[in-house]
Amino acid sequence: MRTSWLIAVFVVLLAVVPTARFSGYHLFQMTMVVVYAVAILGLAILTGINGQISLGHGAFYAIGAYTTAILMNSWDVPYWLTLPISALVCAGVGFLVGLPALRLGGLYLALTTFALAVAIPQILKHKLFEDWTGGVQGLVIDKPDAPFGLPLNTDQWLYLFTLGVAVVLYIFAINLTSGRIGRAMRAVRDHAVAAEAMGINLAMLKTRTFAVSAMYTGVAGSLGAIAVAFVAPDSFSVFLSITFFVGLVAGGAASIGGTIVGAVFIEFVPNLADKVSKAAPGAVYGVILIAMMFLMPQGAGGFLHGLWRRVVRLGGK
């Protein structure tokens, strides 16, 4: 009980402090942290909890982003209404990608999803879809204003809107992964044959998990598109997928709370590396990444969990 109160206080602080204190750019950075956290959460459900490795989740992020942009641009759908539609589209695509995944174990699945991530920018640029996607130029969309005459500027409203959606998505994810279905997901990851003997339908569980995962990352793509107010094929290169994977591992693959740390990592560490060395930010980024893996081999999630247990033990004495 006490933990859920702490989390509630944390969320309120997270909503109030940046909105009241942060300037436009920093607030935008915070918005992107929330967006990335949801994207990594999708990957954590699939890879961390269910054990299906995806190196191509940037593809679902792109599909979500483009779904929102196209709906707003071509059909004048209000931005908030694009989210449920994008969720359905991405869940559908995720389910379909999940079907061949049933026959491909571990590393082969990783390669297949990687191929998807490689293909996506080129598909988005293709002449066939140019009328909708805007081709290489991409699409510019309008930033939403705060509704009901709330005294908030666009950046503030965007941050609160994104955070609100994320909180709902996190609650659903925690419910899903802590109950019967979550146990089944982990069981399949740890021993598929035994899981099947316990009555878990592997094909059904894995494809549905894939759909949920793609849905989360896709909605993150939609939120990201709304926040950036622009989509273009080259924003969704393979590197984005790898970045999500880095965030996942840095946060601690199977940890829900760790996804937030992972998002902070992928949003701020590249900037930090850039400040340290203008000439070789990539090298600095690499060193930070390696140092982190040395200091927290279980990811930030595992590290914080261990720290928490130590605090509880000390408090108990």
């Binding site: 659903f172 019967r180 069981a187 003997a197």
Partner: protein
Amino acid sequence: MPPVDDQPLLRITGVKMRFGGVVALGGVSFDVARGQIRGLIGPNGSGKTTLFNCISGIYRFMEGDILFEGKSLANVPRHEMANIGLGRTFQNVALFRPLSVRDNILVGAHHLAKSGFIANALRLPSVRREDAAAQKRLDDLLDLLDLRGVAETPAGALPFGTQKRVELARALIGDPKLLLLDEPAAGLNHSEVDDLAVMIERVRSHFGCSVLLVEHHMNLVMRVSDKVAALEFGLKIADGTPDEVRAEPEVIRAYLGEPDPELKH
């Protein structure tokens, strides 16, 4: 129509299985009655594990049939086995190692509940009810199998003997009509085997389920089984009470080898 009570819980009739040119099972038949502890013994390579895998759906047998409550298991998908009442353990323990003992056992109750992804994400009242029901069954088992002290420990961190009890609990929480035990004594020391024998009898009296015990360990099988079948080279060489099977010359020969004519006097 014969009354249901006459029907054996499990009936194996003429099951054959070949791997390439090797005949692993050459037509094996026997029954497991309701409430019975049935032993299945045989030396290495006699086909008992193959038969076990045929029953649990890992292999699809080529000829003959296996009937469970009168219905063929030939085309039952593996994930349906738990649902129709077949629980099992694995030869070398197949636990979900990072998960706590509690979660490991609860996975065994998966098929008793029906709630799906959406109901779970929203944590609907039906999900809470299912959870409460599973927790209650879990509580009973933690006491019965003496696992309460390790309920929150990751299963992979426990000693082998304890892991076997966790596996047994995981099979039992699903309320099986027939419990398939694949070499439960393997890797256990002498006193652990004694505990296991007590445990198997307790399981039967507490849950009223039948047990098919596939085992290498003669002593254990002879001690707890009501009836025993013996296999050698994929064929049944004896079937009866433990005393009858122990006295069977074929069984003695299979286990101890041919008497050496040189040593005869």
